[in-house]
């Protein structure tokens, strides 16, 4: 097989968007743009666009540091100033990067925040994270407490509570920092654009129901969700990006093509897999290659839902902007209770006709990981399909043991193969 690097127009487009964003960040001070640090899950991008602020996402910096092999030394730096080995490495990676001058992925120093917008959806660690950042920056913090969907639904009270906080805490702080008044119509406009892009994203993700799947919904998926989950949702650029992406994916479906991977086109789909849990960033390509080598394609993943579960029907609603933002925050994947997460995985296995499912358990992330072993059992029971379980970390290179992961994946795929050949024997 020839391994040519395939670059589709959408990829170029995304690259440009990101480069442009970092350029704007670098020039933020010159242009008097205000910088807001905030998180991906439950991000309030449309609202922030309404105030003309520029977001910085610490988790994205951390994952980029992981991919650029810098996270190891950043984590070490944070541990040197007293952080425990045990805690979330995203936080430590971010702190370490800060200690090292806060140089972003483009090699330029990131601007300091004018506001820390702590929307704390799906994870308590976010709260600690911003408490820690607050110690280093002299800027206000807007805290948005998003309750947990403990009983599988976002109640009226929860929505009202979050919307009230947007009104009384988040918007006033944004106004105070930017000097811009809240303009409901501007936010609505962005939401309208979000909707369109959200439809296209869902179409792209659901294209994986085809056989062969034209996309990898995990490794490839993290690129597809990039603009939607970060600075761009609600922008024209994002709208254009998703239109383009969708047409490319449609074309691959029509041509009966498999997904594009760094190793080239995957032309033989041998296993269709659903994955739960974030990927590992320090060995991202190596990890992907382990799937590629076995002909395994991820057809659905939960990680691509951490910034919104659009495929389950949610859309931003310009008619109720604040309530809709509240519903969005409440609905992010890690804010769902375990029974809902089990249902979602089981549905994916069925809807995407998967051969197996895998849990990538992340040492850092209690929010994702605590309970995954119980989920495993329940998903197996619900689908009758055995699951696989591997343990890695997001950005701590010490916790990625290639031989170990490989051994487990290999054993798992061999087991799936043995299973399907066994079943053939029986039906023959």
């Amino acid at each position: 097989m020839k391994s040519t690097v395939i670059k589709e127009p959408s990829m170029v487009q995304q690259k440009e968007m990101i480069a442009d964003h970092f350029q704007q960040l670098a020039e933020a001070a010159e242009h008097g743009r205000k910088v807001v640090y905030t998180f991906v899950p439950g991000n309030l991008t449309e609202l922030m666009l309404g105030f003309d602020t520029l977001p910085v996402h610490p988790e994205i910096n951390a994952l980029q540091s992981g991919m650029r092999k810098l996270s190891g030394s950043y984590i070490a730096a944070a541990e040197r100033v007293g952080h425990s080995e045990d805690v979330c490495t995203y936080v430590k990676c971010d702190i370490g990067m800060l200690l090292d001058g806060n140089v972003g992925p483009t090699g330029k120093k990131l601007p300091d925040p004018d506001l820390l917008l702590l929307s704390y959806t799906g994870c308590f660690t976010f709260m600690k994270w911003f408490e820690l950042l607050r110690e280093r920056y002299d800027c206000p913090v807007a805290m948005l407490h998003v309750p947990y969907q403990a009983d599988g639904e976002a109640t009226e009270e929860m929505i009202a509570y979050v919307a009230r906080q947007l009104e009384t805490e988040v918007i006033p702080k944004l106004e105070q920092v930017t000097g811009v008044a809240y303009d409901r119509d501007r936010v609505r406009e962005h939401m309208l654009r979000s909707r369109v892009a959200e439809d296209d994203l869902v179409a792209v993700l659901e294209a994986a129901k085809h056989r062969p799947s034209p996309i990898d919904a995990y490794f490839g998926g993290v690129y597809y969700i990039g603009p939607m989950f970060t600075a761009f949702r609600g922008t024209e650029a994002a709208q254009a990006y998703y239109r383009q992406l969708r047409s490319e994916v449609d074309a691959r479906v029509a041509a009966g093509q498999g997904p594009i991977t760094p190793e080239g086109l995957l032309d033989e789909e041998r296993f269709r897999i659903v994955v739960e849990g974030p990927p590992n960033w320090t060995h991202f390509r190596e990890f992907w290659k382990m799937f590629y080598d076995e002909g395994a394609v991820v057809v659905a993943s939960t990680y691509t839902k951490v910034g919104g579960v659009y495929d389950r029907g949610f859309r931003h609603d310009p008619d109720r902007p604040l309530e809709s933002l509240a519903e969005y925050c409440l609905g992010c994947y890690t804010n769902l209770n375990l029974p809902s997460r089990v249902d979602m995985m089981a549905d994916y296995v069925r809807d995407y006709a998967a051969d197996g499912f895998l849990i990538n358990s992340i040492k850092s992330c209690n929010s994702f990981s605590a309970g995954q072993l119980v989920m495993l059992r329940h998903i197996e029971d619900a689908t009758g399909i055995p699951g696989g379980f591997i343990e890695t970390d997001l950005v701590d290179p010490r916790y990625f043991s290639s031989s170990n992961v490989k051994n487990r994946l290999e054993s798992y795929f061999q087991m799936l193969a043995q299973r399907s050949s066994g079943q053939e024997v029986e039906s023959a």
């Binding site: 805690v87 408490e131 509570y161 009230r164 119980v374």
Partner: protein, 388 residues
């Protein structure tokens, strides 16, 4: 009752992993129910008002062999959820008719989901104590939540809960908090009189006994211990912090004392010590409880401190108030809230020139030697240099 008898009783309660005492209590009255709760903050008043017995679920200590609980959690997750699951699967929580899961951290939060999946027949009430402390926002939300909890408790106990029931419960717990404060004050003043292992056992007993009975026990102890003849030892006075959730074993607490430390303040068994002043008993009781939460200035790693300049202040105050010579950060392994808080608190102590040391434990830590060495060296340092 003498000190020894009281402590013996408490020890028995601590070791009662099967909750026989709860079953007995239930059997003593028609239709009695018991509701478990996890750390750190729970309005036990509501359970009491519903006529049910609030029972603390605080892991299994070092006694229980964890088999199936381990199967539910990866090695890098703290210990308390696995022992909770183990207890449940072994039928040791059968006496409970439901459980409250406060929003302490992601682990306890997800544990509520595990409970829903594994023990569907038992009520699981997760509740999100608000981090927004604006009475009009968080306050309103919390008031609603409390009402919701009451409604769900009513379903479990099969009867209505009135305002007077709630007021009576508030009074009982106000009394409990006063007694606990007295106990802590006494220990801070005369630590040789109240060993922390005893203070701890007393508080743990409150996780099993009805509050009135526990109050009596506390009062008796406070009287009896003042008559005890206990020798003053050449120990260092320290504050322990970080132990708010998964509890260290009694052996660990004793190890610290043997290594030459008098504990003069701690955040063990925090649930017994929330809020500064009493909760008011007039007006709407749910409002009163919500208000108390909103205005309490208790700082723990699971509560957002809105004013950054106040971070760590409570710890410094406690060191000063109790005349402590140092702080021991003892936190459960893999406890994100405690461990992420630690560097912030340590920075404050450094600024204040207060000595500290730190280590991690888990409820079943068996190798106490490294902990003894660390605490011992810390105490040595304080002692050898106290007059230098």
């Amino acid at each position: 009752m003498g000190v020894e008898a009281i402590i013996g009783r408490c020890q028995g309660l601590l070791e009662d992993l099967d909750l026989a005492c709860v079953s007995e209590w239930k059997a003593a009255g028609e239709g009695r129910k018991a509701i478990g709760f996890l750390p750190v903050y729970v309005p036990r008043e509501l359970i009491h008002a519903a006529g049910a017995l609030p029972v603390g679920i605080l892991g299994a200590g070092e006694e229980l062999e964890i088999v199936r609980g381990d199967a539910c959690f990866q090695s890098y997750i703290c210990h308390i959820p696995r022992s909770t699951v183990e207890l449940g699967l072994r039928g040791k929580l059968d006496a409970l008719d439901g459980a409250l899961f406060p929003s302490t951290c992601d682990v306890i939060r997800n544990l509520s989901g595990i409970w829903q999946l594994m023990f569907p027949e038992k009520e699981a009430i997760y509740f999100d104590v608000p981090q927004n402390l604006d009475p009009q926002v968080g306050g309103v939300f919390y008031r609603g939540l409390l009402a919701e909890i009451v409604t769900r408790l009513q379903r479990v106990v099969g009867r209505d809960v009135g305002a007077d029931d709630l007021r009576a419960a508030i009074s009982a717990y106000n009394a409990s908090r006063r007694l606990v404060r007295e106990l802590y004050d006494l220990r801070a003043a005369e630590p040789w009189r109240v060993p922390t292992s005893e203070a701890y056992l007393l508080l743990r007993a409150g996780m099993r006994l009805p509050v009135e009975e526990h109050n009596e026990l506390l009062a008796n102890y406070l009287t009896a211990v003042r008559d005890e003849d206990r020798a003053l030892r050449d120990n260092a006075r320290i504050v322990i912090t970080g132990t708010f959730c998964e509890q260290p074993s009694l052996d660990l607490i004793r190890t610290l004392e043997h290594a030459g430390c008098y504990v003069v303040d701690d955040d063990l068994m925090l649930v017994t010590r929330w809020y500064g002043p009493d909760i008011r008993t007039d007006g709407d009781p749910l409002d009163a409880i919500a208000e108390a939460w909103m205005s309490a200035d208790d700082e723990t790693p699971c509560r957002y401190v809105a004013d950054g300049t106040r971070k760590g202040q409570q710890l410094v105050d406690s060191v000063r108030r109790c005349g402590a010579e140092g702080v021991i950060f003892a936190a459960p392994s893999f406890c994100d809230p405690a461990l992420l808080d630690r560097p912030m608190l340590q920075a404050v102590l450094e600024e204040e020139g207060i000595a500290y040391t730190s280590f991690k434990y888990s409820e079943n830590t068996a190798q106490l030697q490294p902990i003894r060495e660390q605490a011992g060296t810390f105490a040595d340092t304080i002692k050898l240099w106290s007059d230098a």
